[in-house]
Amino acid sequence: MTGCANYRELETLAVVTGTAFDKGSDGTGYHLTFEILGQSGGDGTQGPTVKSQLIESDGNTIFDAVRNALKRSDKKLYYGDCKTVIISNELAHEGIAPVLDWLNRDSEPRITINLFISKEKTAKEVIEQKSLNDPITSYALSNIDKNNPKFLSKTASVQLYQANNMLGDEGISLILPALDIANNQNDKITELGGTAVFKKDKLLGYLGSDESKYLVFIKNQVTSGLLIINMESASPDISLEIIDSKTKVTPILTGKLPEMKIEIKTQVALSEMQTSADLDTESGIKKIEEKASATIEANIKQLITKVQREYDSDIFGFGSAIYKNDSDYWKKIKPQWDSLFQSLNIEVSAEMEIINTGLLKSKTKVGG
């Protein structure tokens, strides 16, 4: 029927919480690492607690590897609660469409799985790391990714269905959040590390965290996060917290070549000021706004130029914007889009509005 006509007791299932996809050790096939729910303790008055368990499995295909895990696991793997899929660098270079195929085709995995690319050598080492609070690393990663658009906006969070859309649509290239391993106290820990840039389904390279923020700006996915600007000295001295931001990407198709106009309207709160300059007047605020606008414009231009030059992959969805604006025009230029994108002229205008300055009116007073 619809995949739910069979009676299964919950405890007979090994609940997969996350999966790391690696290439097989001999260069062919796949090596999968599943993180599943296990339990520890449970004697006396204390109930059992949840812990993370890993099962590694090899197979010629992904499903083969999934089923081969049953050689080691006494319980059938259950994919309904899998929240995180990490794909290794190496696999992504070869193309992630075959990996996504099984996830999309099978009935159990949800289309809201968070996808990540491992910047480390293998995906396994990423999923192996302990997380800070959650006993299950995969869930911790999924939560980090959930918090990212709420407070950080340093990379786009991509779920399986969004990845499918980006892969399948014309005039837009796939990006996925990347993970790397950092030091935290004496441990190693997984952290979000920028954005993986794809062309078609093949990984080209990465954008750093700060560059990713401007990528998110262009894609109109900024809901929160900080803007750091420097007013006087070379080191940054002002933090602006984004409260609301809207980006409009308008293609200009009147000229010989298509052009792009990016308009950003952002409302921010002044939330940190380290500068000694006297900026607590109306004109001072204006100055900060202008500086912030200029910073955004410069950074965005820089990012676009970098992507045009290094990757030649339309991760911003400019092609898609043209298609939405004028589908006939898009059909005409589609064959040459790669070269057109590389030389695309971009106009950026950012409008910044400081709507409050937090609890302080001017800078923190230093007496004496």
Partner: protein, 500 residues
């Protein structure tokens, strides 16, 4: 059918003896009928002034008011100075001598026996083939108390007792109108129980009344010890787990139902009164609803409806979700259920069935046993069945929670207790086979069934109950109309519907 014929013939068409004019023959006749019944008292009386005047009184010991019998009947008969020339002695006795409240003259032997067994006294006078039936009924009755099963927070604290006349008095006190009609009937070929149909003329629907009388006439049974005997015999849906005839022990509830155009059926010897037609929503109505503030009453009623849905659904939905649709479970809940179910040997369905049956056993035990053992029962129930069973890994804790939820919410609506148990088990069976599909099919089936059954021609699910009194209880100034189709006179109030 054949039972009906046998009993009918035994009582009515027997070769009935006929009273003679000779007192001694008559005494022998009556004593012969009550042969081996030593409670029959035969009191032979000779008048003190005229010893030719001989009478005899028959009554059953314990069923008569002795004081009344001695002082108002026997004493005058003994001491009355009869005119020696009198010719119509029996009428003189009836009219001038006895002080009883009602005196009937009859020669019908059947009637004489009925009078004796129902606490009246029969007076035979020598030389007459007629008997006088004197109303001397008097037996101990239970005091009027609040019914245990239908307690209210506010409102009258009286309940019916086992005496039909006392019950009718209680009703009459609430409905002081000549429109209150009371029609007596006798039920049970052997018990000869007195019963009556009550309705308010001009409010009750005559078609329903006629239908009720038709059904009452159709059956015959040898005994009716409680109204449930009748209720089952006249029920339109005898196989339905949901009753289509209501019952109550409260006079105020009966009065309220009569005012809505319903009909009540009283039976002697039981404090329970049937009310009909009975709509489904009436299960959720309580007489409190009308005595408390309407906000509070409405919340209470919504809670009862919600409790009904919960009690029939909770086990089925739990099994469906944990065994078929793991996707629905939020991950933290799923983790805790997995942890709880570790090393529990039985499948969830079996666990659920066992615990539900266990709960029903506990409930039934609670009903049956003497109340002073109640404490030990709750200890056994809570500790052994709950805590210890979980610790011993016989059942998982979530199942106990679900069963307790289903059990407690089931007690919210004690009137459909039986129906609830059946529906709950059917839904559980369905959802253990087909998951949520089974549950949904089951609920659809239940809905189709409920919308199909009728109570005395009225669909029980129909919104014929006035809408102001369905899911919520509207304030009285908003309840202008009686239930549609049931009542003849549909207007309850002539005010404009606005509170002053």
């Amino acid at each position: 059918m054949w039972i009906r014929r046998i009993y009918a013939s035994k009582i009515k068409d027997n070769n009935r003896p006929i009273l003679t004019t000779d007192l001694n023959t008559n005494i022998r006749l009556i004593r012969n009928i009550f042969k081996d019944d030593e409670t029959l008292i035969t009191r032979y009386i000779e008048n003190q002034t005229d010893t030719t005047i001989k009478c005899c009184i028959f009554y059953i010991d314990g069923m008569v008011n002795n004081k009344l019998l001695n002082e108002d009947i026997i004493k005058p008969l003994l001491e009355h100075k009869f005119d020696p020339k009198v010719s119509d002695l029996i009428n003189i006795v009836a009219k001038q001598v006895t002080l009883s409240g009602s005196v009937d003259k009859t020669s019908d032997f059947y009637q004489i026996i009925q009078a004796i067994v129902y606490g009246d006294s029969v007076l035979l006078v020598n030389g007459y083939s007629d008997a006088l039936i004197l109303n001397t009924k008097g037996w101990a009755t239970r005091a009027i108390a609040e019914p245990e099963a239908e307690r209210v927070l506010r409102g009258p604290r009286e309940g019916f007792n086992e005496s039909i006349m006392a019950n009718l008095t209680m009703l009459r006190r609430k409905l002081r109108t000549q429109d209150l009609k009371i029609k007596f009937k006798v039920f049970g070929a052997r018990t000869q129980t007195k019963g009556c149909i009550c309705y308010i003329e001009g409010v009750a629907n005559k078609d329903i009344l006629a239908e009720l009388e038709r059904r009452l006439d159709k059956f015959s049974i040898d005994g009716t010890l409680d109204v449930n005997y009748i209720s089952e015999l006249i029920d339109e849906e005898p196989y339905s787990p949901i009753k289509t005839i209501g019952s109550t022990e409260r006079p105020d509830t009966v009065a309220g139902k009569l005012l809505e155009g319903r009909i009540a059926l009283f039976l002697d010897g039981t404090p329970v009164v049937l009310t009909l037609p009975h709509l489904f929503i009436e299960h959720f109505q309580s007489s409190d609803d009308y005595y408390l503030n309407y906000f509070f009453a409405s919340i209470g009623r919504l809670l009862r409806i919600f409790g009904f849905l919960l009690t029939i659904s909770a086990p089925a939905v739990y099994v469906a979700i944990t065994c078929f649709h793991h996707e629905i479970l939020p991950t933290p809940l799923m983790m805790s259920i997995i942890m709880a179910r570790q090393s529990v040997p039985m499948p969830t369905v079996v666990e659920m069935f066992l615990m539900l049956i266990m709960f029903e056993i506990l409930r039934e035990t609670g009903n049956r046993m003497p109340s002073n053992i109640g404490q030990s029962l709750s200890i056994v129930g809570a500790l052994v069945v709950g805590q210890a069973a979980v610790d011993a890994k016989l059942v998982s804790a979530p199942v106990i929670v679900i069963v307790a939820t289903a059990g407690i919410t089931g007690l919210l609506i004690p009137r459909i207790k039986g129906g609830i148990i059946i529906i709950r088990f059917i839904l559980l069976c369905l959802s253990s086979i087909l998951g949520l599909y089974g549950y949904i099919f089951g609920m659809m089936g239940l809905m189709i069934y409920l919308f199909n059954i009728r109570s005395f021609g009225i669909p029980i699910m129909n919104g014929l109950q006035s809408k102001q009194d369905m899911y919520i209880r509207s304030p009285w100034w908003n309840m202008m109309k009686r239930p549609q189709f049931m009542a003849v006179d549909k207007t309850r109030s002539n005010s404009d519907g606005d509170p002053e």
